[in-house]
Amino acid sequence: MTAFETYWKGFIVPENYDQKTESEEAAFADRIAEPLRAPERAHPSFEKRLMERVRMEGAVLYPQPSPGNGSWWRHEWVIRLSARSGIAIAAGIGAIIALSGIAVGSRISARSQGSSPLAQATTVRDTVQLVRFVFVDSGAASVALVGDFNEWTRGATELKRSGAPGVWTVSVALTPGRHEYAFIINGSQWVADPLALRSSDDFGTESSVIRIGTAAQSTT
């Protein structure tokens, strides 16, 4: 009789197995699980390989603040509202987000509604809402949108030139609720709305926040 047979027959195959109690079943499972609980070690190179990938993406995802300059983006980027945003609203496209830099700091909703939401949703309640993101920067070669709705995946949601100089747009279907997002410019520069960041992010990081409500709820 092998060691396993001894191990096995001692507890696994009673005649009245079907009538066994819950505790007996638990004991059986525990005996089976015991050898499976033996520790396993990750490959010695696991951490090294992983951290190489982490460092490649980390500089964009979690950039360090510039030393001596508390708000690097204030001087790096001036983002203004596109005139096309107003056209979009008139056309009933849905909510429009204008990412605004401190230097200019204009927001379509604030201007048009006399309030201070980041975005305004005007679509049917309890449905996915089409949100148009507008970004203006004449020097950008590419603009990407990352957020919880695309698992912060670079390249998943690229903005396209709208036709007007320096205006980039993309429309994204968002479910009602709170969403975080940011823009990545030229594949490396992370840009987020500073006000939304400070008011909404648990860690004081750079994400912007949009709340998509129903037709009866203005978004913030």
Binding site: A29, L36, F46
Partner: protein
């Protein structure tokens, strides 16, 4: 770095200290490896799944709403990633070696081969024959020793359904191994 809590390490990463993520990797890589190896039956596939899982965790670190319980959040990602890899394995037809054959060759009565005394290996091979949802439930309950409530929160499967999966897993293991070791 090892003295820092999960929440402190996460805060450091989010503040731009990317290398702090290595502290989280060291803390959880072995525990996650055990589950992934048992689930996928291969160290290579487990390594691949965990690389993906840790990267997903890194990318989504802002969405870890309870940084003090990073481990549970990470585990949820690992479980999902292993599901994905298990599905790929099925499509590739490359999962485990033929488990029943391996078990039978090892200990079949009258076999000319030296009896295999690798108890854990036999159980692993039997485990590999279970449907992946049953294997996952059995591992989380009895190997990782989570409560049904914890597993339900992690997997989105109801407690009653999890209990049924675990029971079926136990029945399946018993049937498979009973066939091999019947007197």
């Amino acid at each position: 770095m090892t003295g820092l809590s999960d929440a402190e390490l996460i805060a450091a990463v989010l503040a731009g200290d990317i290398d702090s993520f290595a502290g989280l990797v060291r803390r959880y890589q072995d525990t996650c490896t055990r589950f992934a190896v048992r689930m996928l039956g291969s160290h290579v596939d487990a390594d691949d799944a965990l690389q993906s899982a840790f990267m997903r965790a890194f990318r989504g670190l802002r969405r870890c709403n309870d940084p003090d319980h990073f481990g549970g959040w990470l585990y949820q990602i690992v479980v999902n990633e292993c599901r994905t890899h298990a599905s790929r394995q099925r499509h590739r037809g490359l999962r485990f070696p033929s488990a029943p054959d391996a078990i039978e060759r090892a200990v079949a009565p009258g076999s000319e081969e030296e009896p295999d005394r690798d108890v854990g290996g036999h159980i692993e091979r039997a485990l590999s024959m279970l449907p992946s949802d049953q294997r996952e439930a059995f591992l989380l309950k009895h190997v990782e020793e989570l409560t049904y409530e914890e597993i339900a929160a992690m997997t989105g499967v109801s407690v009653s359904a999890l209990k049924m999966r675990v029971k079926r897993a136990c029945d399946g293991l018993r049937d498979l191994l009973e066939g091999v070791y019947r007197a």
